[in-house]
């Protein structure tokens, strides 16, 4: 709990300059994604997930992170990719969205990298791909292509509420 609070304070202060352009990149279904550092609270290795009944498929359940109950979303399933078995490289990226914590289960984390605006291009408009809604842009790191995501847009409003309620119920 303490670590989380500390991070919050630090995050608010340095939000403007230093963290801009810094992304945490991760692999899901052989695609490299990136989320802004500002959203990232912690990266942890995969651990035991407690499933929550009546949840959507991608909402795998909740985890216990130092006393806090955090819901976790399977990014593969969320992006309608084939489900893969979790291995030792699977990580949960714990993010903070509007005062709520959500964990995203990814195949593996890559690195923390700076991507300048020149290396970012706007996303192509392809209507069927679900990834598009949350794509903020296409980044270039060395010769790799990174799909930059808006963390808060991975889940839309209703889904977010759903997940939050479920957790709240559990937290009580």
């Amino acid at each position: 709990m303490e670590i989380v609070q500390d991070i919050n304070t630090v995050g608010d202060e340095a939000d403007t300059d230093e963290m801009k352009g810094k992304y945490l990149t991760f692999w899901t279904d052989n695609q490299l994604f990136g989320v802004p550092i500002a959203d990232v609270v912690q990266i942890i290795g995969i651990q035991e997930i407690t499933p929550v009944p009546d949840s959507p498929l991608y909402a795998k359940g909740v985890i216990n992170l130092r006393g806090s109950i955090i819901p976790v979303i399977d990014v593969r399933l969320r992006f309608k990719k084939a489900e893969e078995k979790y291995n030792e490289r699977t990580c949960i990226i714990v993010t903070k969205i509007d005062e709520s914590y959500i964990g995203f289960i990814v195949d593996s984390v890559d690195e923390v990298t700076t991507i300048s605006d020149e290396d970012i291009s706007s996303p192509p408009k392809v209507s069927n791909d679900h990834t598009n809604a949350y794509l903020t842009g296409i980044g270039k790191v060395e010769n790799k292509v990174v799909l930059l995501l808006d963390t808060s847009k991975i889940l839309d409003e209703s889904e977010f509420e759903l997940v939050k309620d479920a957790v709240t119920g559990l937290n009580k």
Partner: protein, 408 residues
Amino acid sequence: MKIKKSVFFADIFIALLAVVCSIFSVILFQQFHSPVIPVILLIVPFAGALLVSMVASKLIIKPLTQMIESASKMSQGDLSVTFNHDSKSEIGELGQTLTDTVTVLKKYISDISSVLHTMANGDLTAEIDLDYEGDFQEIKIALEGIISMLNTNVSALSNSSTQVSGGSEQVSNAAQALAQGATQQASSIQELSATITEISAQVKQNARNASEANSSSAVAQDKMQDVSEEMSRMLLAMSEISEMSTKISNIIKTIDDIASQTNILALNAAVEAARAGAAGKGFAVVADEVRNLASKSAEAARNTTDLIENSIQAVENGKKIADVTAKTLEEVIAATSKSTQLIDSIAQASNQQATSIAQVNLGVEQISAVVQTNSATAEESAASSEEMSKHAKTLKSLVKQFTLKETA
């Protein structure tokens, strides 16, 4: 007749003489009273009687004596005697009768002699033409009987001897054929014996080969056992390598785990450093270095894992090859065992063959002995029949000496 008459007259004369003399003697006696003349006169009849008897004896006894002599000679087989038959007296008659008798006897005897001579010369066609009278008929009948019987028997003998001759020839031929056959048998048996000896030698060779093959395959089996043991040891070593590789693999996994966790930690550190902004720059560098180290660890672990995997793969391949080899070896052992069994049965069969051949040999020897006996018997038989043939020929030639009566 004459003698009777003579005797009668003599008797009368003497009687008269006696009477006369008696009368004279009486007269004289009465006259002369001398006894001398009466005596002399009495003697006269006696003298006369004496004279008569002397004459009689001469007339009777001499011829009789002659006849007795002749008859005696005759009884001793001299038929050439004659009997005095010139006088007309009874003695003369006797002499004549005896002479007749002798003649008759001579006739019969001569006839019989001639017939018998003829028969003695082998001519059985002899016949007695003469009429034999009275008791002599018996001889004729008997002789004719002999002739007929001889004819019959000799003829039968002739037939028999012909048959015997023919029969003995057949026997001779048969015996010769038998002897030939026996000789052929003997030579066949020789060939058979030779063949059996060959077979026996081959069987012995078989048995020896089988025994050699057996010992060879036993050696091979031993070698294969050794190979099998070596293989087991190799498999053991390989499995140890596998175990070691697995252990190393686990350790590598642990290292990898640590590396990845370190990585995450470093990332978290980088996140914090990013948040810290300027203050976190140094920390960011440290975090970066840590990440580098973690990634190097991970890479080293990966390389090692690759090597380990190769090693495990190599061991797996080796194991597969060893398995295949083991299987092949088992098959070879099974085949060898089978072939050993077969060879054993061959050896056994060869032994039985050898025994059987020995028995066959024995049998052949027995046959050979029998054949030899047969051969000897056949030869004896041939010799016997030769002799018999000779005897039959002799018989035939003897029989030929007889001339037989034609049978109607």
